[in-house]
Amino acid sequence: MNLLDFVVLIGSMLGIAAYGTWHTRRHRDLSHYLKGDETVGWLTIGISVAATQASAITFISTPGQGYESGLDFVQNYFGMPLALIIIAAFFLPIYRRLNVYTAYEFLGRRFDAKTRLLGAALFLVQRGLAAGITIYAPAIILSTVLGWRLDLTIILSGLLVIIYTVIGGSRAVSLTQKYQMAIIFGGMVAAFVILLMKLPTSLGDAFTVAGGFKKLDAVSFSFDVNRRYTFWTGLLGGLFLSLSYFGTDQSQVQRYISGSSLRESRLGLMFNAVLKIPMQFFILLLGVMIFVFYQFEQPPVYFNQPAWHQAIRHDAGGKLHALEQEYTAAYTQKEQLVHQWLEAKHAGDSQAEAGARAQALAALEHSNNLRAEAKTVMQADDPGVKSNDADYVFVTFVLNHLPHGLIGLLIAAFFAAALQSKSAELTALGSTTTIDFYRHLVKREATDAHYVAASKWFTLFWGLVALAFALFANLAENLIQAVNIVGSVFYGVVLALFLVAFFIRWVGGTAIFWAALAAQTLVFVLYFSLPISYLWYNFIGCAACVLLSLIIQAAPGSTNKSAPALPAS
């Protein structure tokens, strides 16, 4: 990065934060601070919902996923449009009619106080743990490749988001997210255009090469349970996860209940229902095109270049040097085969085309084996080396192949993505602590100014907790997985609370409360005793909680059978 890149990076980050802080520094009341003003339109809501979901990892790691595995990850989002339709039709009207600040307030109104506190507590535990990762995960990647100090990167980006979120509240989050998304989309589109211009082939040939190397297999109807992404897992698993996340997670609920009307909130959700699949496709395709680019330009053996250079310096036996030379020879052979393949295609010689393609596929497999071998050697010397370097593919491409100025814009885009999701998490944590715990349990009658001040203090508290968590975290890969596991362990039960609240009206608060506790205990027991994927706990927790609530409610002697009616939607 040169001076121009730093000017673009620092100027855009500080400029957006300063504008958001200045523009939203005064608040009329608690509703204004936690929900924003009454003029928020559907586009702002839609962008805010998308920005909250799309963290820095989305824009840093997803192209790497496209590079390694192609487009099949896009299936993961197939359930999301359907989930958003269900939320817009059933969840949203009730949240708005009850005029709640948090999703868990609704649980209190539908069931009772203890169920409300249980839902809010599950959210705080889960989201509070995840909050540190939102800053830490991109910071470790960016500080590694840019040579910056990790602690300073975390502190500076963390303090920036804390300042404007605490001062401006929910409105500052929505306002800054709009401009941060503009930076992100501008940077990603510019990178894509430059990448296409740098390709030595036509776009048609690029797609031929990508397809030939199995990178354009976007949809699979396979019933193979070992296959991670298929149409079925995307549709069913994606529907389930999206219902949990968008329908019950306060960091999202707070985004769309802030609309000036039900119409604006609904259209904001529908904007995401249309946007998400094409957006993920575009980001994955960017990774696929980087893969094609590296068929004509030699890629590094290991994309985390600082780690590779350090390993080379300590390569006493010369194993990595030898592997690097072999990798270069394999690349040269593969490049020639790809050229032969395209020449045969242009000549209309299908037999020669198929032969060259098969040889190129074999050469690619050989290159991948060499890469895997190099990683094994590196891990033998340093167990801390990650086996997966896909997270570094896009950053390496940006730093090595984009013009100055645009490098600064892309790095700004990665930081913007980190800040935008972080700010939504912080304001959600602050508002849940204020509304569901402080106002409910500690100080029931106070002025709006008092609750606004309390909310600011709680947001600051969660921001500092997240910062501390990020600073003292040192096992990135394990922590990310740990946070995903924590989310999956709790999400199922939280979703069940809301599904029963919305759709099974004869189940009362006591039944659902004990069912939730029992289901959560069951999930904990199964987690420590069964060797299944943690994603299954979303389903198990939800199904167990719903079934148990029905059984407890139907049991002789149970009370509270006449649950309050929900407002008509």
Binding site: P81, I85, R110, A210, A218, R263, F281, P564
Partner: protein, 57 residues
């Protein structure tokens, strides 16, 4: 006015009648909007299947 726990009634919430209109000239009901979104989803999947089939050979 906010009600206490477990006491939702249809009358407590402010009327939201004007919000029910979509305000869209070509999709006047929310059912129509949802069907349109579902159609977009189906179209996305069909296009992705087409991409898979065309370039998998």
């Amino acid at each position: 006015m906010k009600s206490s726990e477990g006491s939702i009634t249809p009358t407590e919430a402010p009327p939201d009648g004007k919000d029910e209109a979509t305000g869209l000239p070509w999709l006047r009901t929310w059912r129509g909007v949802y069907l349109f979104i579902f159609g977009c989803f189906v179209l996305s999947v069909v296009l992705l299947i087409a991409l898979t089939v065309i370039y998998s050979s």
